[in-house]
Symmetry: C2
Subunit: 416 residues, 2 copies
Amino acid sequence: MKRDIDRLLAERNLNAAVVRGSTLDSPTVRYLTDGHKLEGVIILLRPGRPGVLIHNPMERDDAALTGMETALSTRWDLRSIANELHGDMLAAQAEQMRRILADYGVAGRVGFYGHGEIGQAHALLSKLEQTLTDVDVVVEFKDDLFTTARITKDEGEIAAMRDVAERANAVVAALAAMLSSRPVANGAKGSKAYLLAPDGQPLTVRYVKQFIHEQCVQQGLEQPGGNIFALGADAGVPHNQGNPDDRLELGKAIIFDFFPRPVGGGYFHDMTRTWCLGYAPKEVERAYQDTMSVFKLVMETLEVGNRTSAYQSITCKYYESLNYPTILTAPGTQVGYVHGLAHGLGLEIHEAPSFYAYEGNMAVVERGSVFTVEPGLYFPDKGYGVRIEDVVYCDEAGAFHSLTPFPKDLVLPVRK
Amino acid sequence: MKRDIDRLLAERNLNAAVVRGSTLDSPTVRYLTDGHKLEGVIILLRPGRPGVLIHNPMERDDAALTGMETALSTRWDLRSIANELHGDMLAAQAEQMRRILADYGVAGRVGFYGHGEIGQAHALLSKLEQTLTDVDVVVEFKDDLFTTARITKDEGEIAAMRDVAERANAVVAALAAMLSSRPVANGAKGSKAYLLAPDGQPLTVRYVKQFIHEQCVQQGLEQPGGNIFALGADAGVPHNQGNPDDRLELGKAIIFDFFPRPVGGGYFHDMTRTWCLGYAPKEVERAYQDTMSVFKLVMETLEVGNRTSAYQSITCKYYESLNYPTILTAPGTQVGYVHGLAHGLGLEIHEAPSFYAYEGNMAVVERGSVFTVEPGLYFPDKGYGVRIEDVVYCDEAGAFHSLTPFPKDLVLPVRK
């Protein structure tokens, strides 16, 4: 969490960290500025001192709201420097950085972070390496300072994550209630019964997506990554978002994966339910119960300090004991258990820690962390997939809490 | 535009371009994949051949929708490579890249593009420079291949930009109509009259923002960067988004800057109107007319092939002839004309070309380009600011068209 940043700087032997980017692009900039809208800022963090936010004068009101120490970027005016350097913008950006660090008396090891075009980043950091005489440019490839800080959430962050969880669960509840309330039409001979929309036409995935969108608006949520509402064979491909033209037929597996955040940005929720309308085919029922067993096994064995990758291994081994293929023994399989068990959640849908099992994944389960648990099985050729996903919070006492209370019944009742 | 990519590769003497990132993060990835949701892809472009999209198997259905040649990332499975390399993920990513390029027979000069964490990008590209023996790693700091390609829009892109323009203008029209329809309450002695909301309370900026949000939902628009609806002194700070508690008083300058895109991503519109409810104070009126004069002057003098920076200079000189301070003669001024005249518009709100005046800005006005024109004047201490902004399209014949038809009347009539 934010209060760990000084410790994390010290562990890395850094005299300062520089973060570049915009709140819209960079989760780290958003993290440090509490989400106030800022474009192209430079943030300077030094141990034991307030962070400095260097910003465009046009954004001085938003900058002031962050509570950080602020400075106008025009003090080191980029275009004036570019004019001094005959229009060489790369040299000008490097020179601007040099002047800022010099003016703040920063020397020695300095870490560089933030989000941007990768080619530009490489060009600028290479230039800084070549030209800064008092500063050692440090970059981190994995488990970097801010990725690490963001794994654990403070009280304010947990409150925000509980709030978005509540709103997300309300949307899912409203959708389930709507589906259960719709009339059912018998299919033509040999085809399945299906739900009807208010206009008397078959209720489609398009209708469902519009309903979810309207519920999100009511709850003040947005869905930057869309959502997954995938039926039958589509549910057998984990990230298939669903076919808008599909009608909602009874007895078909539906995967609904919902990952909204508050309008304007903030912390995400991420939950999945698998539903069969009216009844569940035996095979789907079995895969679902096996996945529920994995889900419970993981929830019961979660423990602070254990390697995250251990839970991926446990999941694979449990599924394999039931004769399902998994990516542990069949890397690249598209059938059976084909993805990671879990991922950290926060200002990004996928953030640290990773739960994948590979050599070098040293992540452990931490107090204060928030992550998903989401086992699933996929059989696109057999026309179904199942997945169950809750968000889990590990409190400071090391106890685990699901933030996703919506029930996990496979069968969603329909009107008789 | 996309059909220029082969020429742009050849101009840079590149045998291939590699683009890394996710559709959500990277406008270039979104550009090349037509917006289908994909996470952590690698795209390989070679002159005269279809682009190759290397993607996670979980996203194979979305990948297929792009129409690109596709390959599963598990063919070069990162975690398996990491296991071979004792968990060194940086070495594994570099090795994965090496294998991909080798398998596609790519050698010589290869450009690297995309969006990501800047430290990771620098670490990976430095590692590639050190380890790839057959490949020269090329990066571009400015005017890079995709920035350049994206300046000009093809027919499909123009259609999308006309569509979002129409929807954005409809929202602005609905807002203006709503404001004009509200009852007016007299202020207490010595204070201004103000609009009333349906609940009989003063109509506030909060109410306006909710109204805009609801109109956006109806039009299928989203506002990832929010919007600016700033009154009085707040309008004097260009990026101040407005104070939710402010009541809408008559005769106060309002800057409404609206920059939505279709829900789920796509091309932006970006327009600004300045309004005074009921009547305009003389001083605001004068600043507004002077800004209208600049706007018209720029629109009338736009010409293909001229430097974009020339129009920033023209704007500054015109304003200075009327005794307003500008950033040309007073860099860093917060009073008068304080920002750039214009910016390219597309999948990002601010993209190339830049219209800023500095040595090294070689951008020229191009056929097929879309950009804003947005002069403005700011007097926070006097309690007002004004700005006018349209989106302008330069067609293939070199004619300029505003895509922002909403009227530019300063005074918005109110109910008698």
